[in-house]
């Protein structure tokens, strides 16, 4: 194996978190920093010729499942099978990762999120928690994160309207949000017709609609790093595409321009990290670097004083499991923490709505829309309801391409083929929409990750095995929220409303979101978590683990704002404290 000269910092993964950390360390220190990304290079210019729905249907921006996938089962009694096609989630590949093809939704978490376990017990008593839950508090608070949320919003030029400015509630924004120190850096985006119907309907029902917080700028914006991006043109090629003009914040248009100015930071593409190399000597556990396979297939050792794991949730877990770092979680005994608390997001279109008037769905961006959070978190009293927590309703023109969305018909159309079907399909294509729900997925003892005993990747390493299923809490929540969505859909003027059929077993074929969390969870004690509040590994102080793998459980809002806020907080801890006195920060 080839050994390279040592660097100060090696970062595994060139997505949002890896490149944000590289930017911070490159800008604020003289450390030598190497980012290892297994995909290829990307830039905004690539996207001007990729406005083609076939590119998304062929998953050209996603991880190549023929090289590495995961296996999945619903419970430990089953044998897992590999996912050979993308479905429930869409992991990215290449510089920028999933941050290139994301939708740009950028909400903050509610303050209560960070103390879910203790707050629920305090309010409802322990009996209200599901029998097999493994819900944990984060060990950090919303107040800890607030300044970093603000930094993240200014980094991406987030658009939106404040609903709680330093404690003052502001109508028109999300009045349920935690306090924020500043207004959004850019005003709300324009909204398409369907979102205006949703806004008016929810207002008439007494709810509190507000502009969806978005990492797509509504106007030209120059961020504190001096990176300028234009406002959105609502071209409609947004989620599952790279933004051709750079209005949607992506690592390549927001972080790369800064990183490229710093000679102490380099990005190596086609570098597939297979192991984190570590040792124990004199009672001290140390990571000494990473082993990766380069573009020519050569095994390479990159020594580093500090290792930062910044790949996607499932890949963070798999690398640690393959490397033998931390005790793997055993759901039968409850021992070990690595791989526990796997959660997804309860995400679907709760209703399909059919209208008389055309909607012009081709115009918009994924996050140019309206959101209602009246049912999020614990905002609705749950004493008399059969579930905990909740979620938000959202309407925007999301993934409306004509290939994937043609032929969705209401129950009143009886024809299944022929000219009557064609006529109906043509009529309804631009008269069909839905109300999306983003709901909370609690953590359970049986939902976890480990290494599959059977299936391997292209190098012969075991695949990650997901054991995951919904519980009654999610099913009853969806049932409750579907009834609300039906009511809203009718108020929007839909002539026919088709409700979601209900949440049954976890379905890998239905896209839900790419918001998968857990496995390296954050906490205030090494007994119940993998990393401390600064995302530093409890046992290996020179290893930090970024991203949503640190979330103890899913919170209903989309996670990227929180992921970036946590990364900023970790960067501060490394620069201000760790580099001065290397060692445990927790």
């Amino acid at each position: 194996m080839k050994a390279l000269p040592a660097v100060d910092v090696v970062i595994v993964g060139g997505g949002w978190t890896g490149l944000l950390m590289a930017k911070e360390l490159g800008s604020r220190t003289a450390l030598s920093v190497v980012v290892l990304e297994r995909g290829g290079p990307r830039s905004t210019g690539d996207y001007s010729v990729e406005m083609d729905e076939l590119n998304t249907l062929r998953f050209r921006m996603m991880q190549d499942l023929s090289e590495e996938t995961v296996t999945m089962r619903h419970s430990s009694r089953q044998r897992a099978v590999p996912l050979r096609q993308h479905g429930a989630f869409l992991p990215g590949s290449g510089v920028g990762g999933a941050g290139e093809h994301w939708g740009g939704w950028f909400p903050r978490f509610l303050p209560d999120t960070f103390a879910l376990r203790s707050r629920t017990i305090e309010k409802y008593g322990p009996a209200k928690l599901p029998a097999d839950h493994s819900i944990e508090d984060w060990g950090i608070t919303y107040d800890d994160l607030e300044p970093h949320y603000t930094r993240a919003e200014y980094l991406v030029g987030a658009s939106g309207k404040a609903g709680n400015l330093r404690g003052t509630r502001i109508e028109g924004g999300n009045i349920f949000e935690g306090w924020r120190s500043t207004e959004y850096p850019t005003p709300p985006t324009k909204i398409p017709y369907i979102a205006s119907l949703f806004r008016d309907a929810t207002q008439s029902l007494g709810y509190h609609p507000y502009p969806l917080p978005s990492a797509t700028t509504s106007t030209s914006f120059t961020n504190p790093d001096g990176v300028s991006r234009p406002g959105c043109t609502y071209c409609g090629f947004c989620d599952r595409y790279g933004c051709m003009i750079g209005a949607k914040a992506q690592p390549t248009n927001t972080l790369l321009p800064v990183i490229q100015k710093h000679k102490n930071v380099s990005i190596r593409t086609a570098a597939w990290v297979r192991r984190i190399v570590h040792s124990s000597a004199d009672g001290k556990r140390r990571v000494s670097g990473v082993m990766y396979v380069d573009a020519l297939g050569k095994e390479t050792f990159q020594p580093a004083a500090l290792t930062i794991l910044a790949s996607w949730t499932l890949n963070n877990n798999r690398l640690l499991l393959l490397s033998g770092i931390g005790e793997p979680y055993d759901p039968a005994t409850g021992k070990g923490n690595l791989g526990r608390n796997l959660t997804h997001q309860v995400s679907m279109s709760l209703v399909t709505l059919f209208f008389e008037k055309p909607l012009n769905r081709f115009m918009g961006s994924a996050a140019a829309g309206i959101r209602v959070s009246d049912f999020d978190g614990d905002l609705v009293e749950k004493t008399q309801l059969p579930f905990l927590q909740g979620g938000s309703f959202n309407v925007s023109n999301l993934t409306t391409g004509p290939i994937a969305n043609f032929g969705v018909l209401p129950p009143s159309v009886k024809a299944r083929w022929g000219s009557d079907w064609k006529k109906a399909a043509l009529y309804h294509y631009d008269r069909t929409s839905g109300i999306r729900f983003a709901g909370e997925h609690l953590a359970y003892k049986g939902n976890c990750m480990d290494l599959d005993p059977t299936y391997k990747d292209r190098f012969g390493d075991p695949l990650l095995r997901m054991t995951i299923d919904w519980r009654d809490n999610e099913r009853k929540m969806v049932e409750f929220m579907t009834a609300k969505a039906v009511e809203i859909g009718r108020a929007m003027g839909a002539t026919q409303v088709v409700p979601f059929p209900g949440l049954h077993a976890y379905d890998t074929t239905r896209y839900q979101s790419s918001h998968v969390q857990g496995g390296t969870i954050v906490g205030s004690s090494p007994d119940r978590s993998v990393v401390n509040g600064y995302l530093q590994h409890w046992e290996f102080s020179n290893l930090f683990i970024l991203g949503a793998s640190s979330f103890p459980q899913n919170a209903s809002p989309n996670p990227t704002a929180t992921i970036l806020a946590l990364t900023y907080r970790t960067a501060d801890a490394i620069v201000d404290r760790y580099l001065k006195t290397p060692g445990p920060l927790g």
Binding site: G45, S48, V49, E50, M51, D52, K190, I191, P192, Y193, S196, G231, C232, T233, Y234, C235, G236, F237, M244, K357, P358, N360, F362, M363, G364, A368, G401, P402, F406, A425, L426, Y429, D430
Partner: protein, 50 residues
């Protein structure tokens, strides 16, 4: 492209900025508009160029 237009999808348009909030409740069926048409600047056309 013709097939797309038949179902009410105009194909790629560089910008809908002036139209997204103007045509509420009425069909708006513009023609496809390329980056080149909008900006007058040649852009790389990918594999077709080879």
């Amino acid at each position: 492209m013709i097939g797309w237009q038949l179902v009410g999808f105009p194909g790629p348009r560089m910008s809908n900025y002036d139209d997204i909030d103007k045509h509420y409740g009425e069909a708006f069926r513009p023609k496809p508009t390329s980056l080149r048409q909008m900006t007058g600047v040649d852009v790389r056309t990918g594999e077709d160029e080879k």
